[in-house]
Amino acid sequence: MAIIITWVRAVGLFYGNVAPFMLGITALLLGFVLLPALYEGWADGLLPALLLIKLITSPVVWYLSEQMRPNQYWLYYNLGVSRRRLWVGVGVLDGLLFLGLTVGLQRLYS
């Protein structure tokens, strides 16, 4: 249980570091694609495409993060959390957040 709690804390902390990249992409997709689509009425079936774009941009975020902050992992290693587990956690968290915001906006406009 302690391992899971530590992992959740580590993922939350790490997400705070990469959030400017990830949430920036989310904001761009929702603000410049989904909202106009909802406003103009062609948003049906757009969710899979948005998710795909979000997925495609993930390696870019990962690359930028690795290049800009190569020493960011040491604290997490000392918490027993590997790089892979961090990124899996962040991917799930960001995906859920993106999905939640997208579905929420669609419902708001429907």
């Binding site: 302690a2 391992i3 804390r9 902390l13 705070g16 570091n17 020493n71 960011q72 992992y73 040491w74 604290l75 290693y77 000392n78 918490l79 027993g80 590997s82």
Partner: protein, 230 residues
Amino acid sequence: MTLPSRFCVTEPHLLEADGIRLSFGSRQVLADIYLRVQTGQITGLLGRNGSGKSSLLQTVFGARTVPDASVRVNGHRVVPAFQTPGLVNYLPQASLLPTNLSLGQVARLLRVDWEAATANFPELRGQFRCRPGELSGGTARLLQVLLLLHADTAFSLFDEPFTGVMPLHLETLADEMQRVKPRKGLLLSDHRYAEVLALCDVVYLLHQGRLLKLGADPRAELCDYGYLAT
């Protein structure tokens, strides 16, 4: 005997690493390595710049993946070691501390008692709410060492723990390490060889990819191998 899910730091442990071979391009940095660290001992690691000290520490810790590397505790393979709860922590040359967290928050994450960690450094206790950017380099370094030293792990690996730390604090830090060593195995690498020789029970020299255990007259050996001039 099976590997425990969490290490009991009150029991003695033996950490061994061997089979570590590492090359950068055509230059072989590590070859034929056998390293041994045990509870109750402070082990020193010396070597010239670029000799592979940091790479060796990172490999033992598990942050650097090296094929065929074997890291064992009490005979059980632990690769990567950092994923075994309570086994080992590591101070890198770079800062461990994220810029957006206070030292108190880091201490809580590492489950370290801040009061106990700074008990012998009363002037540092008030830094609990400080962020790394608000501290001098030496103070930040010292606090990182103290946090890892007092964390509940069986082993601590320190890469240049004395960098920037003022002499007065170095003496107290050495005393602190001596106090902690009965319950912990310590491995440290630093260019302040005089402090390392005075503090450590066992000293290794990393020379041309090989790890040499220094004997009764370490200074003479360090001169022979070109680490010291005189």
